[in-house]
Amino acid sequence: INPDIQKERDTRTFDYEELAMLLNGGKEEREKRKKIVSIVESDRDYDGPDPSFMSRMDRFEEWMRKSSLLVKKKEKLGELVQDHKDFMFYNLNVTKKRPNVFFDLHYGMFVPTLMGQATDEQRAKWLIPAINHEILGTYAQTEMGHGTFLRGLETTAHYDPETEEFEIHSPTISSIKWWPGTLGKTCNHAIVMAQLYTRGVCHGIHAFMVQIRNMEDHTSMPGITLGDIGPKFGYNENDNGFLKLDHVRVPRDNMLMKHSQVLEDGTYVAAPRKNLTYGTMTMVRSFIVRDAAYALARACTIAIRYSAVRRQSELRPGEPEPQILSYPTQQHKLFPLLATSYAFFFAQLHMVEMYGSVNEAVGKGDYSNMQELHSVSSGLKAFTTWTTNSGIEVCRMSCGGHGYSLASGLPELYTYFTPNCTYEGENTVLMLQNARYLIKC
């Protein structure tokens, strides 16, 4: 241990164990996390080259190797990994916060959408195969020409009562689905959000299950064009993709019908609440608040530890170079961000808890708090991601020239975090949604 950093640890004035338990979910949860970390770190199968020195294709293949290995090892984890939360922690330790092509969108959006919007029959058909990874799914909402404004989506789903099928179609270039993670080359199913038409009337966007690749040879299904959208600012291990649908026909049961239905004859039965269709997005926004808290905490960890080790200049001629952490200007850059990471830690606890209780109430038919949840999750998602995004950059700048090197881990943390400001709702638009609710009040 570097003596300067050890000296820092020796000066603390609080009980480390008490705080570590608080931040890691209590004694049992923390013990479990430590065991999971130990299992992953002692498993040599998960070792691999440093991604900083790899090409995009090599990175993509390496993370796919790790992701598929993780699926295969899933059953052997035993009692240690009991629920989804444990499993996602295991996943995090394997992928190191980089995309897991078999989990992130699959478990983050595909499965929750099925859980929230599919009927019991539809769940029986797709949910179990999805959990067993017999099908690989993603969530295709955003289009090349349309993002946060969902009512502007152009993809159509016309119901044909003669054949009891929907015809799903991308009518323009701008309507091509664009961005969904793992859509390009990995997944064989997608939940496609499209404008529903029955009897010539548009009923707004609804979710449809579409098989996009052949289950035998993985080729694109007829009428479907798929591909990768190309290199990005970050997330280059992921095949964020595009999808063009050319009059693709799916059976009537492929519309997720828990909340609103289309009957055989084309009669439309509306959901009790229109915004139930956006439930997955509200969930994801709630979890983005958590990601913002942890990303800022990671950036602060790097910058503060380094600032304890780095010595620079001399305060007075002839004196030894002080640790940069001792300079008030360095403290003024980093300590408010450290405090912010704690404020966000508690905000994310509140947000995730609020999502859980409102979601439970919605399951029982109580929609009274949905609008507030939508407003809070939109506002906090925007507020925390903006702050974290600029905060990571301040942390990088606080590490001098070495912050510019990929060795610092900060450029990659920044590029991986940045999309949070634009996906699942562009931040300014989300702030306006929050403001509309406030003004209405």
Partner: protein, 211 residues
């Protein structure tokens, strides 16, 4: 008003009357600071709402009015979220069962977060008549005075998150602090370091030098 009376907790404060401003702001009292955030948010929300009403009175339809006021609306929403985060932070620390030592450290962090927010958004607090120029100067000074209180715990506060080195993937943020030897080792992995003389020497450097 309807939403407030229906029990939407996060916006209930908007309906309350603004308390009389005090001549002296006690920045040591976190409840007082929370009240300042609350009043800033309420003020900015009401400002935006009044602007919408004004636009409507001047003949704009509601959609047009909301669009014209959208810059103010974003400020209002930002202030509301900021208030939510500050208040939630303070409330959590008060509610949690903590040892006095840890509570004191977390309280200092909460004060730093709240005061830094006042300091960085001082214009909005002054605009609402909540802080004077003198208050803002005091606030800047209090932030500076809090820094050495955080200093002895800074490394342990980040350690407590318990991110493993493999998750951080940072030579600079290593737990053991052995940054420099590992920076050298990391750099040696560069493709350019595979050979002493790079192939580009024969192709480009040598012809240039020997021309």
């Amino acid at each position: 008003a309807r939403e407030g009376s229906n029990g939407a907790k996060s916006v209930a404060y908007i309906h309350q009357d603004a308390p009389q401003m005090r001549q002296y702001v006690d920045f040591n009292d976190l409840d007082t600071i929370c009240k300042l955030y609350e009043q800033r948010a309420r003020g900015l929300v009401k400002f935006a709402a009044n602007k919408v009403e004004e636009e409507v009175r001047n003949g704009e339809d509601l959609v047009g009015a909301l669009n014209k006021v959208s810059v103010h609306s974003v400020r209002a929403a930002n202030a509301h979220c900021h208030y939510f985060v500050v208040k939630n932070f303070v409330d959590e620390i008060k509610t949690l069962e903590l040892s006095p030592g840890l509570r004191s450290v977390l309280m200092d962090l909460a004060r730093l977060y709240a005061l830094d927010g006042l300091s960085k958004n001082s214009g909005e607090f002054m605009e609402e008549g909540l802080l004077s120029g003198k208050d803002v100067k005091q606030c800047h000074q209090l932030v500076v005075e809090l820094l050495p209180k955080i200093r002895p715990n800074a490394v342990s506060l980040v350690d407590s998150y318990e991110f493993s080195d493999k998750i951080l993937m940072s030579v600079l943020g290593r737990y053991d602090g052995n940054v420099y030897p590992n920076l050298l080792e990391w750099a040696m992995k560069s493709e350019l370091n595979k050979t002493d003389v790079i192939p580009a020497y024969e192709k480009h450097i040598r012809p240039l030098l020997k021309r």
